[in-house]
Amino acid sequence: MQDQKLWTWHLAAGLVILVLLGLHMAIMHLDAALGIFNPSGGHPIDWANVVARGQTLFFSVTYVLLLGVALFHGLYGLRNILLELAPGPGLKTAISWLLIITGVALFVLGTWAAWKAHQVALGGVLV
């Protein structure tokens, strides 16, 4: 069950990444055509534009979603590569847990950062 489930989620995460990363690339590199995401003009990563995007719930949620699916997709892929090195059963379990802990820690950190950025964009104070 485990592998059937994980592989299916791996594929699903890849599809979500395809959409969200496509959106990210479009915002960053097609800013002339998609000025809607860069209301202050200039470069897409100018502070005013970042704040404008960060104020919307849509972007805050998609930041966290992209972080989650990218971490799962990437770390599961990394696990597959590491298992190619034929580790023993104990090491295999250790690799799995190390990657789970790493993924969860990075997700919590990234979610916290995205939430703080959302608050700052809405006019709060960065603490």
Partner: protein, 276 residues
């Protein structure tokens, strides 16, 4: 090697291993005369009959059907009976037992683990009407198009060439490997079969197709033109669809009732009585 430049002799380098003697396999060389049409297996017989009777390998049919004589010949897993010396492009023939298996003796690999995996995936028709299956009263219906969905996978002769070529099998003893997985797909695809849910119990875990990274070597070396790599991808697709509940299970094909209103043409004789 062209027809004009055929060598007069062939140098065989054979990996020898005696389990009761030295623990390490060793190379041994034999020079035999070349004759037109000589296969690698023919050459081994020449060595055994005229030079070294202690040389051991497995072979049977000599015509690429039984799958016994898979060997690692000049860097590729091949059937020795199906491999002409002239097609190797070299007057040196290097013969070793198939990789990814323990060696029992000389050129004889221990195929036990492969057949354990094979057996665990129920490579036979599974369906609820056991009585009809054991004592058939008629045929199960299957169209030509339905048969073609699995036909190429049924050409497998279990020679283990694909297992010997698989980089995932080389690193993971739990992974079933190309042959057992292709056979699982062969029976899952058969419209007469109803065993998907039973095979799934093993396939959804680490024995399943998940660790394949599509090197494709299994399909490249298969002497029967089977495409196990494709079977593995199809198996994955079906299992993913099953997890997402997108797979539509269909009941196994029913027995075709004999029509009542037909009669044998008088000019067609009756079949002879069964001999077994």
């Amino acid at each position: 090697m062209t027809a004009d430049s055929k060598p007069k002799t062939v140098l065989y380098r054979v990996l020898r291993f005696e389990p009761e003697g030295s623990s390490n396999p060793r190379w041994q060389e034999y020079t035999i005369p070349y004759t037109s049409g000589l296969t690698v297996l023919d050459g081994l017989w020449v060595i055994k009959e005229g030079v070294d009777p202690s040389l051991v390998w497995r072979s049977s049919c000599r015509m690429g059907i039984c799958g016994s004589c898979g060997m690692f010949i000049n860097g590729l897993p091949r059937l020795s009976c199906n491999t002409q010396i002239s097609e190797l492009g070299s007057s040196t023939v290097e013969v070793a037992p198939l990789p990814n298996f323990d060696i029992l003796r000389d050129l004889v690999p221990d195929l036990g683990p492969m057949f354990d995996h094979h057996q665990a995936l129920s490579p036979f028709i599974l369906r609820p009407d056991r009585e009809e299956l054991e004592k058939p009263t008629a045929e199960y219906y299957q169209s030509s198009a339905e048969m073609e969905r699995y036909l190429q996978f049924s050409y497998c002769i279990k020679c283990a060439s694909c297992i010997a070529a698989c980089p995932t099998v080389a690193t993971d003893p739990v992974y079933s490997g190309p042959m057992p997985l292709a056979q699982a797909q062969r029976y899952n695809t058969d419209t007469r079969d109803d065993g998907f849910d039973i095979r799934k119990l093993a396939l959804r875990g680490p024995q399943g197709p998940w660790r394949c990274h599509f090197a494709g070597e299994c399909s490249r070396v298969c002497p029967k033109g089977v495409d196990p790599a494709k079977a593995i991808q199809l198996l994955r697709r079906d299992l993913v669809a099953d997890y997402l509940r997108l797979r539509r299970p269909t009941p196994p094909a029913a027995v075709v009732e004999k029509p009542d209103d037909i009669a044998r043409r008088p000019d067609i004789p009756e079949a002879p009585p069964a001999t077994v």
